[in-house]
């Protein structure tokens, strides 16, 4: 790890003024991603501004009937919060599918959004990588790309965003509240992360001078018909190869409102409005689910070692929608896939 300065932020305004005064400073919350990346010399901030003591730890009901989650709520507290397990069990399930109990105790809601890719070359500073060093190249395209993306890739980068939580948040139409030098703004979660394009060094649309203060969920939590189905190389404590957050509002066997978000396949949680529209108003069954999967994947492109993901994603989508329809969400303890 490089040597760096350390300071604690006393409140959000102080955090913003500290980050504004040092272009190579970074915030630190749980530290589970940043400290790891600093040990690999992928990140080398001049200063860490400790925001972990800021009072952004509340989970509150909003007047609109939704939920506001402070950026520093630990992933474990969020996963087990009664309002979340009852009204947004999809979010709870996705959180519990990620990392380990220890890491979830440390990891914050805001940090989870900003965790960086697990692309092997991004982590290995001995290799080129456009995300780490713009212009140096992308060895993943012809290399070890089992965990890399099949949708929304660019010539410059085929990395995925590794978060499970964000996939559920995308399906739930969450919003991200941020504060910055020009005041506060709200970014829809589906617009928060970017596609790599020719600027893969930028993961999100958050400005480096901004801080995430909260996540807001709308009232509809899809607590009856949902699942988070995560497929990975080990049954626990591994990142997704493909994951699917499925949520349905059903009416007598007909899908009224479908949400489908994929993880492990793109630079951002992947939603496809066309596929969701194709489900709405239709009988919920394997045929309509397969059609939706085909729409999601018709532009999917493999890079050799990850080409299997296209078929895996298709089957995972159909299985997840079936679990959601049946009201039999995937257990994150017993690993048998219903």
């Amino acid at each position: 790890m490089n040597n760096f300065q350390y300071s604690r932020a006393t409140d959000v305004a102080d955090a913003l003024s500290q980050i504004a005064s040092d272009a190579s400073a970074k915030f630190i919350a749980g530290g589970t991603n940043l400290v790891d990346l600093m040990k690999y010399d992928v990140e080398h901030p001049s200063r860490l501004i400790d925001i972990s003591h800021l009072p952004l730890t509340k989970i509150e009901e909003t007047t609109a009937g939704g939920l506001r989650i402070g950026a520093l709520v630990p992933n474990s507290d969020l996963a087990w919060h009664p309002l979340v397990t009852e009204r947004y069990p999809l979010l709870s399930s996705a959180l519990l599918a990620g990392a380990s109990a220890q890491l979830r105790n440390m990891a914050s809601t805001g940090g989870n959004l900003l965790q960086r890719t697990r692309c092997l070359y991004f982590y290995d500073v001995a290799t080129p990588c456009n995300k780490r060093e713009p212009g140096s190249g992308c060895p993943a395209k012809e290399g070890i790309n089992r965990i890399n993306a099949i949708l929304g890739t660019s010539d410059a980068c085929i990395a995925t965003h590794p978060s499970d939580m964000c996939v559920a948040l995308a399906a739930l139409d969450a919003e991200v509240h941020v504060a910055g030098p020009n005041g506060e703004r709200t970014i829809a979660l589906v617009d928060f992360h970017r596609l790599p394009g020719d600027t893969p060094q930028r993961d999100t649309n958050l400005d480096p001078k901004e801080i995430i203060t909260a996540i807001e969920l709308p009232p509809q939590g899809f607590s009856k018909h949902y699942t988070y189905l995560k497929i990975r190389d080990r049954l626990s404590y591994a990142f997704a190869l493909v994951s699917v957050a499925a949520a349905l509002r059903m009416d007598n066997g007909t899908t009224r409102d479908a949400r489908l978000a994929l993880g492990g396949v793109a630079h951002k949680p992947w939603r496809n409005p066309e596929a969701e529209a194709a489900l709405n108003g239709q009988a919920a069954n394997t045929d309509t689910f397969a059609r939706a999967a085909d729409i999601v994947l018709h532009e999917a492109k493999g890079f050799g070692r990850n080409t299997f993901k296209i078929d895996l994603a298709r089957r995972t989508i159909i299985r997840a929608l079936t679990q959601a329809m049946n009201g039999t969400p995937q257990s994150q303890s017993s690993k048998k896939i219903a």
Binding site: Y6, A101, Q102, S333
Partner: protein, 168 residues
């Protein structure tokens, strides 16, 4: 125990930061570089070698300790960020020579082979029991999945935790 300092090192080395932790019930003052992890502070500065460094990247759980009652990976925790916190390591579990019920259960069930992962397993299991979410052996397996055992003592670890859980 902590090595005592005659002069406050933080005054001599401006990069150092003074913190105070309560470690296994005892107050410990340290002048520490901000890049020192809690794991390195415990092992190198306080001489508490019970907590192990396996991967140093959050991937194995050998470094698990309890901070303010919650299990965390000390290898990804910067010590400066925990100024004022209460830390419990495997050395702080027994009282007056009587093993903690989870320690005893690991012995009763022969829940280790080389023992390298064991301090982390035990601290993690104590955290798991305090969290109160595990009801079934499947739950125990999943909620202990952040602790790798290279010797694969897993069946006995689950049985030991089940015993301690039932007794608590």
């Amino acid at each position: 125990m902590a090595r005592s300092h005659t002069a406050p090192a933080a005054a001599l080395f401006p990069g150092l930061i003074s913190i105070e932790l309560t470690v296994n019930g005892a107050k410990v003052k340290l002048d520490i570089a901000p890049w020192t992890t809690l794991l390195d502070a415990l092992r190198d500065r306080m001489g508490l070698m019970g907590t192990k460094k396996g991967c140093d990247h959050g991937q194995c759980g050998a470094c698990t300790v309890l901070v303010d009652g919650r299990r965390v990976n000390s290898c990804l925790t910067l010590a400066v960020m925990k100024d004022g916190a209460e830390v419990i390591t495997v050395e702080g579990l027994a009282t007056d020579g009587v093993l903690h019920p989870v320690q005893q259960a690991f012995i009763d069930h022969d829940a280790f082979q080389c023992g390298y992962c064991t301090p982390g397993q035990i601290c993690s299991a104590i955290g798991l029991i305090a969290e109160g979410k595990a009801k079934t052996p499947d739950d125990i397996r999943e909620l202990m999945s952040g602790n790798i055992c290279r010797c694969a003592a897993y069946p006995n670890i689950v049985a030991a935790i089940q015993q301690a859980m039932d007794a608590s």
